[in-house]
């Protein structure tokens, strides 16, 4: 980004370089993606640890938010593309250098898995409803049996989903305030903290409430430390360049 924009504050379309490439849908997706990554992380973690019976709010109720968040978030991402009908080009290649490519592939796997996860708890969430078709019943039985395998796949994917958005922004050489190594961990921590907070809203038992309060507090402290680390360098550089201390 050029210095003259900072100084003059101009943003004339077609004359000055574009400052605003990504609009509100991207910000919406960054929030929803982090929230979903946080909830999936905790749901998968407690399932892998065989503790899912003790945290029903996580694995059953908070997970309902995830497919909704993904659906809204992915529609927002699609809306912000300018060459929309070519979006499938994302899935013609895997580019390890491009964080957006990881994100696209992770979302392709994690979104259907989150739907299947919620479906596997269908009978437990609404016991009075009977599933209409026989194959849906069979699918549910199959998913309940393989919930642990789903959790093992979801756990690393949730971490990648939580961290890739930060790495995506930090890969932009032109944005000095983003172009650093703290942004990835910061986004991951903030996503996990948002997930813990959402779980806290839905939890009913004392055990779950106290557990997730502790987790969220710890995450907020880590996040504060990361924010201080993130800004510290810039503040120091600014002070030294203006002659202060």
């Amino acid at each position: 980004m050029q210095e003259e924009i900072f100084i003059s504050g101009r943003d004339l379309p077609k004359i000055d370089p574009n400052l605003e490439i990504w609009h509100f849908p991207i910000a919406l997706y960054l929030f929803l993606g982090g929230l979903a990554a946080g909830i999936i992380f905790f749901a998968a973690l407690f399932t892998v640890l065989n503790k899912e019976k003790q945290v029903p709010a996580v694995v059953k109720y908070a997970m309902i938010i995830v497919p909704i968040a993904f659906t809204i978030g992915l529609l927002a991402l699609f809306y912000d593309l300018t060459h929309k009908l070519y979006f499938w080009q994302l899935y013609t290649t895997i580019r390890l250098e491009s964080p957006m490519s990881w994100g696209a592939w992770v979302l392709l796997v994690i979104t259907p898995l989150s739907y299947l996860w919620v479906f596997s708890y269908f009978s437990e969430i609404i016991p009075t409803w009977k599933l209409p078709f026989k194959f849906l019943n069979q699918l549910e039985v199959f998913l309940v049996k393989n919930r642990k395998i789903m959790a093992i796949i979801l756990l690393p994917l949730a971490i990648i989903l939580g961290i890739y958005t930060g790495i995506l922004l930090s890969a932009f050489n032109s944005r000095p305030l983003w172009n650093n190594s703290i942004l990835g961990p910061l986004f991951l921590t903030s996503g996990l903290s948002t997930g813990a907070a959402a779980i806290l809203l839905l939890s009913k038992t004392h055990f779950e409430k106290s557990l997730f309060t502790k987790i969220d507090l710890a995450l907020i402290i880590v996040e504060l430390a990361l924010i201080i680390t993130h800004d510290h360098g810039y503040v120091c550089r600014f002070c030294s360049s203006t002659g202060g201390t």
Partner: protein, 138 residues
Amino acid sequence: MNGAYPQLELELKTERCNHCENAPCVRCCPTGASHIIEGGIVLVTPNECIGCGACIESCPYDARFQHPGGYVDKCTFCHHRLEKGQLPACVSVCPTNCMYFGDLDDPTSQVSQLLKTRKHKVLAPEAGTKPHVYYLIK
């Protein structure tokens, strides 16, 4: 404009895609639409571009923009003219002949000779992009 009064310097320059060797736009592209062809020119394949804008965000030179057709476009160094053995349009129409184009890998080419004999600089060297556009100063 540079310097402190009364020692002021005015610099007029023409800006375009710097066709970086370490191009952040090519690294950020999720589909591989942005690529570097043999010879070092950075190009976009319109039918592979999804218009996500990551390359526009990443470019320290603000060289990229969204084409009205939806895909991302940029200076191609007049690739279509080079193929016919012509110079880029900007070089060929410049009324003061202040721009030069050529092969930097060839030590005997005009551009290589100019970089050997003239003082020059690149834009935003701190971004670490290794641009292929050099500005001759003095």
